[in-house]
Symmetry: C2
Subunit: 157 residues, 2 copies
DNA sequence: AGCTTTTTGATACTGAGACGCAAAAATCGT
DNA sequence: ACGATTTTTGCGTCTCAGTATCAAAAAGCT
């Protein structure tokens, strides 16, 4: 599953820029092309590297300036995995409620959804007197189950 | 509910140090006294400020060195609320599975627990082939429910 | 083409946290 | 109680992600 269609994403971003009276530039093109050519989570610095392979001249500043736009437009989601830098998730437009399980042994990140959890979160928020706006669930786990079965395909396992 | 007993906490920390062949020093005393005189979440810099009011000589380095010890001993929990600095939660020893709801309007942090969610998390981890080690659930919400009812006591609401 | 507004890239800056090291404190053996 | 050994401390420096500044370049407008 390769995330949102690159063309659809670009289109949505165009509409967002228009509505905000911002301009589509070649640098922004390169950046969102890069973002939606993967479905991996990435950091700002990674994105800079990748984008520069496509266009030497893309600057760090522009990458850091474009990421908040992508976040605001709902195409990408800002995540913190407990490191001292941010991660960005390009699968957000597809499934805005997905959660993450991070393996502490092999650093894999597995995405999952759960209607039951979503529903409970809503109920709890209501019962505390709030209305839920956003949510982040992060499970830290160990793949020893898979290891025991010899089924873990990851090199680090 | 004022968090774990200060005396109990100090005792637990003493045992932890002993087991690791580390020493109890006056600075570490001051730091954990400070930590367990509140049940609020705090940052490293806040802790430094508070501790220095009690003992001028406590250094930034020592605070930053002590916090990982407190975390490792299970007395405190490291949290990220999406800011670029970490928060620490002194209520962790009491209820290691509690979750957080952060109000985006008034910045209040409400703690809550849910056996149902805990259970679902475990089930999901198992079904993905992992065993759950740790968990962080963060809800971002707005207190407009309370506001509408005129029941929100917070000044910012 | 000229004029205005936005965007860009280079560079300097900020702020949390880590590191290195010599001095100070705690522990231990005698 | 005292010197030897080990740990811890405080200071200063360093790193690194992210932000701010600003003149130059690009885009859009008439």
């Amino acid at each position: 599953m390769a995330g949102i269609n690159r063309v659809a994403a670009k289109e949505k971003f165009l509409r967002f820029l228009e509505q905000k009276n911002l301009r589509m530039t070649s640098q922004r093109q390169v950046i969102i092309d890069t973002v939606f050519s993967t479905d991996q989570h990435f950091t700002a610095e990674q994105l800079l590297d990748w984008a520069r392979k496509q266009d030497q001249s893309v600057s760090r500043a522009t990458v850091y300036r474009t990421l908040p736009l992508l976040t605001e437009s709902g195409l990408v989601h800002e995540m913190d995995f407990g490191k001292d830098y941010k991660y960005y998730d390009p699968n957000y437009a597809d499934s805005p409620n997905h959660n993450h399980l991070i393996c502490q042994d092999c650093d894999r990140i597995v995405e999952f959804e759960s209607d039951k959890i979503d529903k409970l979160q809503d109920e709890i928020s209501q019962s505390l007197g709030f209305s839920l706006k956003a949510q982040q669930l992060r499970l830290t786990a160990s793949c020893d189950e898979l290891k025991r079965l010899g089924a873990c395909k990851n090199k680090a396992c």
